[in-house]
Amino acid sequence: MAKTNLPPVIVLKDLKKRFGIGDAEHYAIDGIDLTIRRGEFIAIMGPSGCGKTTLLNVLGLLDSKIEGEYELEEKSVATLSSRRQARIRSQQIGFIFQSFNLINRLTVIDNVALPLIYKGMTQLARIKQASAILHNFHLGEREYYMPHQLSGGQTQRVAIARALVNNPSIILADEPTGNLDSYASHIIMEELSDLHKRGNTIIMVTHNPRLTTYASRVITMLDGKIATDTQTPTKKSDGDAKRPLGKKKRAKRKKEAKS
């Protein structure tokens, strides 16, 4: 099913996540075996409460109280110290949230530069790098805006810029378009799809079946288990890694940003 020629980034073996104790005990993830290879764009679907977000949190090392085996880049996560896990979050993982999760009292550029702080970069280097990525996302003119001064689509683009500022290999997106209208959703999905084409591994949780067309693989979950796992032969996943943006596309982007 998956492209077997690429190395696995994430390997889950009989992964379980339990909430509550005694009578209230409940497995949000109930024995998942999953291998995710580099460069895949995975959409995780499923009804509310099926364990999608929990799975994403586990994959993002935000939740380490798990049963079973989780190997990230061939290293068991259970053996990693919390400091090491924080470093992996800082350098290898980029989070995109449904509710954007920007820090309201910081400007757009400070928000984008936030992950670089924990890499120990100087302020100037941080601002430079954040500014560069904001320009890529056509938000150069909004650098010193506060998050509340942006539209929903712009806010999410800032959040994506923040997730990417560290050049992470894995991007975890939890319903990235959940709070956006269809137009803004489309733009965000184009961004993600573009990232995928440049070789990033993307794992996206979504409720919206239309968005699965962007993904190279669709996993549906039910009651903490994987119900289906299908490879989508989509024209968008041509595996053309690190292709720069074309002239036409750039012009189109500019137009969109201006509007």
């Binding site: 400091r83 924080a86 470093r87 979050r89 800082s90 949230f97 910081l106 992950p115 923040r162």
Partner: protein, 410 residues
């Protein structure tokens, strides 16, 4: 790591700025605490210094002999009333004076017998007016000068007296009182001299010369049923270099007189000022302890605000953790914030403390002192308070589960 630290400072600055009112009020708690401690230490330092300065001003060739064995435990002196020895029969005798006078290099020996009692003329003197019975050498050993008339003279009648300028005003209404009669413990004395104002109410003699009467040793003896009760002997050597030898010789001579019992103490330099300093240290210690309570309250204020801040910023903590902040990063962020509050409060408290100290010192006979120790105490105390009361909120912040933290909406 260094950049991270700088960033935490920038971050703290920003976060404190965004809650300006709250930060200022929290700092105020520490400011008040540190200001009171600074003012107390600066003033008590000034008070202690003035006695030492007087000893230095006399030229550093002064030794003082006091009755009673030298005490090794300063605490016992603090708990005793400072004047207790004045009520005990002194161990120093007239023989001792004679023995000291024979020591080479000694230029003046002035015994001081301090009596209390009624001093009257036109008006009564204040009740606690000191009556000092001494010898003419007192003028030399204490650098006393007369502005009018002359000092004690053994050639004259023993019932003559030299009075302080303030006392002269108190009992006669004028500083011009030569030839007038003053009644001391029922005995009439003729005023033969008025001292020049010294303006040193606090000194190692324990008396204010400006408002005391000085009578001759013999007159003092007769007022005290024929015995001399020596509270202090002031000895002056000819040079500073010979003072050490004079002290050794004095100790030897007195030990011989006292049959080998060291029931006296020969003091020089800082030791002379020590009993006075101990008293000020005791007072400063007590008041500092009280001021420390306000500091404690300030610290609790910091802790309270930091806990509120952590609760308010739970979501931010979650975001930061998701973006790669380790627990140590979160602890550092909040700890630096509380340290910024306490050190800010400490510095402003130090400045305000000195302003208060200078304000208060206009009513006091001494000035506050500037020492590096007081600055170090102000900064040190703020550091300790900031760390102590900031640590728990910071650890609490770091322990927050990132998933729960992200779920909280602000």
């Amino acid at each position: 790591m260094r950049f991270l630290f700088i960033n935490h400072i920038q971050n703290a600055k920003q976060s404190l700025k965004s809650n300006r009112m709250r930060s200022t009020l929290t700092m105020l708690g520490i400011t008040i605490g540190v200001a009171s401690i600074t003012a107390i230490l600066a003033l008590s330092g000034g008070a202690s210094k003035i006695v030492g300065d007087q000893v230095d001003a006399l030229g550093g060739n002064v030794a003082v002999i006091r009755p009673g064995a030298p005490s090794d435990t300063p605490l016992s002196d603090i708990t005793q009333t400072p004047n207790q020895q004045q009520f005990a029969a002194s161990t120093l005798t007239e023989n001792d004076i004679d023995a000291i006078e024979k020591i080479p290099n000694v230029t003046s020996v002035a015994p001081m017998m301090i009596l209390s009692g009624a001093v009257k003329a036109t008006k009564s003197a204040p009740v606690n007016t000191a009556i000092i019975a001494s010898t003419p050498e007192l003028a030399e050993s204490n650098d006393l000068t007369v502005q009018d008339g002359q000092f004690l003279d053994p050639e004259l009648s023993p019932y003559t007296t030299v009075i302080g300028p303030q006392l002269s005003i108190d009992v006669f209404g004028t500083e011009q009182s030569i030839g007038k009669m003053v009644n001391i413990r029922g005995q009439g004395f003729t005023v033969i001299g008025v001292l020049k104002r010294t303006n040193n109410p606090i000194n190692y003699n324990g008396v204010d010369f400006d408002s005391s009467v000085i009578i001759s040793r013999d007159a003092g003896k007769s007022l005290n049923q024929g015995t001399l009760q020596i509270q202090q002997i002031n000895v002056r050597s000819d040079t500073i270099g010979s003072l050490d030898q004079v002290i050794i010789d004095t100790n030897k001579a007195l030990l011989k007189n006292h049959f080998g019992e060291a029931d006296f103490s020969v003091l020089s330099g800082d030791q002379i000022a020590e009993p006075t300093n101990r008293l000020f240290t005791a007072i400063a210690g007590t008041t500092t302890a009280i001021a420390a309570i306000s500091l404690l309250v300030g610290g609790i204020g910091i802790m309270n605000i930091m806990l509120v801040s952590v609760a308010e910023r739970t979501r931010e903590i979650g975001i930061r953790k998701a973006l790669g902040a380790s627990n140590a990063d979160v602890v550092a962020q909040f700890l630096i914030e509380s340290l910024a509050l306490s050190i800010g409060g400490g510095i402003s408290g130090y400045v305000i403390g000195y302003v208060v100290a200078f304000g208060v010192s206009t009513f006091l006979p001494f000035d506050p002192v500037f020492t590096w120790e007081i600055g170090a105490i102000a900064v040190g105390v703020s550091l300790v308070i900031g760390t102590l009361f900031g640590l728990y909120p910071a650890i609490r912040a770091a322990r927050k589960d990132p998933i729960d933290a992200l779920r909280q909406y602000d």
